[in-house]
């Protein structure tokens, strides 16, 4: 499903070049549940952004679904994000002025699907059907993250990328979100990549990779 070969990423900060990724190789099978761990600054988020087609690698090749995507135009990358990738962020990133339902509908909008029923069904799946018309500010953190998951999932993308999805939640809500994600993974055969700091969370995944200074330093199956 996902195949990275010698991916590097260099940011230019003023006059200094900062190499965040220094040659990452990674293969992820379809339907796999993968945890990405590592200290801050190790390049986890950059890696996830490249996998999510938000960013392009400086060098190396990236095959998504058998297709080389590292050299596509920004418009083509947007189309891939719209159809194949669902993002779940640490800070939820819902649009504050839209209702929960409208936020979920946004997930469909750019995939070219116009179906309110699908959005409602996704909200029901995450247990928030009765909160459809609430604004994000009227929802708890856990509920907001569930809306975000519904938004990522509503278009049925093959890949969901989650960047510390429980990082801003208390342990109880975090546990609920985690259960929801693993359930969805099991039910729908989604390829799920998750960045986490929590070893207990990582242990619930099928495979853990660890990054340090822009390189994969270890890989273990649980």
């Amino acid at each position: 499903m996902i195949k990275l070969q010698q991916i590097t990423k260099t940011y230019t900060l003023g006059k200094r070049d900062l190499q965040v990724l220094k040659g990452v190789d990674l293969s992820v099978e379809q339907g796999e549940l993968l945890a990405i761990m590592g200290p801050s600054g190790s390049g986890k988020t950059t890696l996830l952004n490249i996998i999510g087609c938000l960013d392009r690698p400086t060098t190396g090749s990236y095959y998504l679904d058998g297709k080389e995507v590292s050299s596509l135009s920004s418009g083509e990358l947007a189309a891939i994000r719209a159809k194949k990738i669902g993002f779940v962020f640490q800070t939820f990133n819902l649009l504050p002025r839209l209702s929960a339902l409208a936020n979920v509908e946004l997930g469909l909008k750019y995939a070219g699907i116009d179906d309110r029923d699908l959005a409602m069904e996704a909200l029901r799946r995450v247990g928030l059907a009765d909160r459809a018309n609430h604004r994000p500010t009227e929802l708890s953190g856990g509920e907001q993250q569930r809306v975000a998951i519904a938004r990522a999932l509503v278009k049925r993308p093959p890949v969901i990328l989650a960047d510390e999805p429980t990082g801003n939640l208390d342990s109880k809500s975090g546990e609920e979100i985690l259960s929801l994600l693993t359930e969805l993974h099991r039910e729908q055969g989604i390829t799920l990549l998750m960045i986490t700091h929590d070893p207990d969370v990582a242990l619930r995944c099928q495979r853990i990779i660890r990054l340090r200074d822009g390189l994969v330093v270890s890989e273990e199956r649980t």
Binding site: L54, A82, F87, G107, K109
Partner: protein, 420 residues
Amino acid sequence: MKRQLARLKGVKKWLDPAYSAWTSIATHKLRSFLTILGIVIGIAAVIALMSIGRGAQAQIMSRIQGLGADLIGIRPGITMAGGVRGGFGSASTLTLEDAEAIREQIPYIAALAPTFSAYQQLVAGNQNMNAQVIGTTPEYAFLYSLEIAEGDFFTDYDHQRGSRVAMLGANVKQTLFGDESPVGQQMRIGGNIVRVVGVLKSKGAVWASPDDAAIIPLTAMQQMVTQPRTSRGERVVTSIALKVSDQSQLDFVTQQITELLRSRHRLAPGAENDFSITSVQAVTQALSEATGTMTLFLSAVAAISLLVGGIGVMNIMLVSVLERTREIGILKALGARERDIWGQFLTESAFLTLTGGVIGVVVGCGTSLLLSRLKVMTTLLSPDIIVLAVVVSLGVGLFFGFYPAWNASRLDPIEALRYE
């Protein structure tokens, strides 16, 4: 049913950008209101001022057109006395003989009337006033389409005999006779007794209005007031008015008269004309241009306020893009392309200015109608102004929204997502 649903969805898709634009505008009510207000003022000013300009134009035109566009007036030229220019008509160069020559030699003349006028004291009973007394031929009434309120215009017979009869302008009649009928009564012009034969209907304040004059046969005038003569012994007149039979020949007739008069007055080639020929058409054109310029000037002033409104829109859109950087990042992560973002912000600014435009049209038309209703000034609203205003307001939104929208679409999604 299914097809209807599909059509509904099509409509929804089309409305979708408008809906997102509406939600973001509704989020910042005061800010949106103030931005829209700038456009409202601009558009309302454009409409109100244009309708005022056009109203003035139409009013002037209708009054002049009332005289007839096929009229030509000839007046003597300017005297030069020691380098001081007198006004038009101050020279004694135009004569009765000129008028006869024109009538005999120039084609396309439907009617012609020379006038010899002078200010005289008019007395009736114990009322008296100073007024212009116009000595002319009966054709004068036909030339200026004069309408008779009572009595009859003097006849050719009166003119041939030099009858002491007078037609009174509406104001003259009112001053001298009040509400009484003057027809058949006697009055004095200077030291001469004349009989009133008729009263003219008021023409209002138009160019060359006869309301304030008395009109008598030219022959009678010649007996009452000494008519000056030129060095060649010709009898001087104040003006010659004529009407052409074919309006398309107006320029030709004007040119022919000019040549005839120049040769009769023995003017050397290159010398200035010692008379002036004005056609109502030319005056109409000149006035039309003048009022057109005024309308343009008023519109330009209004357009400046619209420009300021547009800059306000751009300012707000830039702020809005900055505020919503994170939102733009989220939309991009969800798969929005550059043109989706661009379209959304452009729709939003167009929505703002179009709303302002529509309200502005209502306010502008209201102001215009109110001014007209209160008789402050004549205004003229036409659909083209309204359509233009709406199109311009939309154009302002697209123009001033373009740069902010383009800025928004070019944001890097990762940096936008990281923006606090």
